[in-house]
Symmetry: C2
Subunit: 347 residues, 2 copies
Amino acid sequence: MKFEAATIKDIAKALGLSTSTVSRALRDSYEISEATKKKIRDYAAAINYRPNPVALSLKEKRTLSIGVVVSEIANTFFSQVINGIESIAYKNGYNVIITQSKESVEREQMILDYLTSRSVDGLIISVSAETNDFSNLEQLHKKGLPIVFFDRVVEGIHTHKVITDNFTGVYRATGHLLENKFKRIAVIANNVNLSITRDRLAGYIKALEDHAIPVDESLIKYCDHGGLLVEEVEQAVEALLKTKKRPDALVLLADKITTETFSILKKKGINMPGEMGVIGFNNSKYTSLFDPALSVISQPAFEMGTKAASLLLNLIESKRTVTDYKLESLPPDIVIRKSSRFPIDDQ
Amino acid sequence: MKFEAATIKDIAKALGLSTSTVSRALRDSYEISEATKKKIRDYAAAINYRPNPVALSLKEKRTLSIGVVVSEIANTFFSQVINGIESIAYKNGYNVIITQSKESVEREQMILDYLTSRSVDGLIISVSAETNDFSNLEQLHKKGLPIVFFDRVVEGIHTHKVITDNFTGVYRATGHLLENKFKRIAVIANNVNLSITRDRLAGYIKALEDHAIPVDESLIKYCDHGGLLVEEVEQAVEALLKTKKRPDALVLLADKITTETFSILKKKGINMPGEMGVIGFNNSKYTSLFDPALSVISQPAFEMGTKAASLLLNLIESKRTVTDYKLESLPPDIVIRKSSRFPIDDQ
DNA sequence: TATATTTACGCAAACGTTGCCGGAATCGTA
DNA sequence: TACGATTCCGGCAACGTTTGCGTAAATATA
C-alpha cells in the first residue's frame, strides 16, 4: 500500500510554472508577483500540499527532531520528564522521538545507532543501569552531537546536565527516619555504575555520620538492573530480613525498587511502619493511596524535562561550539506519610 | 553546533572510486570485485560509516518508522501497549514514534499533520476523547495511509482494529457486584463519543437487565475529558453521592477515572467497600497495593500492542490494497479484590 | 529612442543514496 | 588475429526542496 502526497512539482506542472517559482511563492518571496503567489497558494491549499520534511531534512541537514532515551516510559518519573521535554520542544517546532532502553546496554546501543545516524538533531538521555562503557556516547559528543544528560548523568562527558539534588534528598529522608526513632536503617540502591546511586548513597552515609551512627555495609544492597527484575529486589529484601540484627527501616533509592520492595514486604505480611519503616524515591501519584500511605522522595520531573529541553535547544541552535556547560541541580520534594512515621506517632 | 557524519562520497573520494561503486560494494553486489569490496568495507568500518536514513527515505519513499498516537503515555495501559508495539516493530526493522494527544483535538490534529506529512509509513492510534470529527483521519485513510485503530476505534473507518472485549468486561464486573449483594450500581464513563464508552455502557446495561434491574439514568455519569481533569471526576462523584438514593457500588469505565475516583472517595473518608463497592478499568500493577486493594478490569495491553503492530506491518508491506479488515477483540482480565467484595465476606 | 533599471520568473546544483545504462579492460575462443 | 563474452566500474538521473544566478520582458530614465 502506498501513500502518495502532493509535491511542489505537482503544483508547478498544474500551473505551468517552475518548481522554484512555486517554492518561492510559498515562502512569500518578494521576487514573485502577488497574482502568481495567490494562484499558487490557492492551489496548494486546494490539494492540501504539505512540504516533505524528509526532503527538507536532507537539504538542511537537520531534522527538527530530538531523541529522548529513558530506561522505561511506564516509569512515572520518566513520563513526567518526557511531558516537560515535549512542552518545550513543540513550542519551538521540534518533535520528540521517545525511546526506552529497558536498562539494557545492547538496546541502548541500538537506539543510539538509530537516533544518531542523522535522524535527530540532539539527544536527551538518562543512561541505562547496565551501561558502564560510555565511549560511544563520548564519541558522539566529540563529533559534535548536542547531548544533554538528565537524572543518570555521565561524569566524564562535559555537557549540560540536569539532576535532582539526590544527596540532599536522601540525606533528609534518612535524617527523617532517624528523628522518628528508627535505629537500624538499610538502603536498597540501583546499579553502582550510576551517578544517582553514588550521590544517593553519599546522602545516606552523611546522614548516618551526622547522627554518629557507623555505616554497616551489610545494610547496603544493590539491584544491578534498577529493580526491573523482580528477583533482584526479592534477593535484596530477603538478605536484609535475614541479617542477624534486622533493620527497622528502609530507604529505597530508585522508583522501581521502591514499589517492588513495598509490594514484597506487603506480600510477606510485614507491618509497615511497625516492623519496617519505609521511604523511597517515587514519582507516582498513587503512593498516597497505598496501604500504608507511602512516604516518598519525589523529583521535579516535569521541570527537569523543560530545563533539559531548553538547554538542548540552546546547544542545537548555537552557532559556535559551546564550552560553558551547566549542571542544574533541582531540589527534590520529600513527602512524609504513614509508612515512615514511627508507630508511636500513629493516629 | 553541527554534527557531520561520513557519507558514501567521502569513501569514494578517499579511495578514488565512484559513489555507485561504493554503494554497490557496501550492498555486496556481484558486480564489484572482492578486492575492491574489501577495501571499501574496511575503510567504511574505519570511519564508522552509517548510511543516511534521511536520504534513503527520500529515495525509497518510506521511512521505516510508524507513528503511535495515544492520549497519555503516563497511563499504564498505553505504555504497555507501546511496549507491545515496539517489540514487533524493532524486530522488523521499524522504529516507533510515540506521541500523546492529551485528549485534545488540536493536539491530535497537529500530531497527525506532522506524522503523516510523509514521516511515517503507518499509524497506530487510539483517538482522543474530545474528537468527534474524524474526517481528517478518514481522508488519510482514503489516500492510502495504513492505519490501525486500537482501544478507541472509529467505527466509520474501515481498517484493522484491535480492542478489548469491553462489553463482556463490564458485563461481568457489573454481574460480580450484583452477585455480591450490591444493589444500586452506578457508573462513571468516559466521553460518549468514544467507542469504548458505548461498548462498556452496553455491558453495564445488559448486566442490569439480566438481573431484572431497571436502568436509572441518574446513575450514569460522564467525564468528557476521560478523567484528565480532576474537577470533572469530582463533579461526577459528588453528583452520585448526592442522589436521593445513593448508589452502593461503582463501576469505573476508564483507567484514569478509576484512580481519580478512588482517590476522591478516600479523601472523603468513604469506606470501601462498606459504603461503596468499587471496581474499574485499570492496568497499573499498583492497584493491589491500594487501601483497600482495588478490584480491576485489566486489558491485555501488551498483546493488543503486538497485534496492532503486526496488522499494521502487514498493511504497510502488502503490495495490493487491503480490503479484508480484521476486528480483533481480546478478552479482558477481571481481578477481584477487597474493594468490590460485599463487606460481609470480608475477613 | 536608446539605455538603465526593475520585475518576475526559469535553470541548475545540491543534500546522500540507488539503479539503470554504458563502456573500458581483460579473457576466452575460433 | 579478430571477435564476442565477461568482469568491473563510472556517469547520470532521480527522490523533493531551496537558492544563487541568469535572463527576458516590462518599466523607468535620460
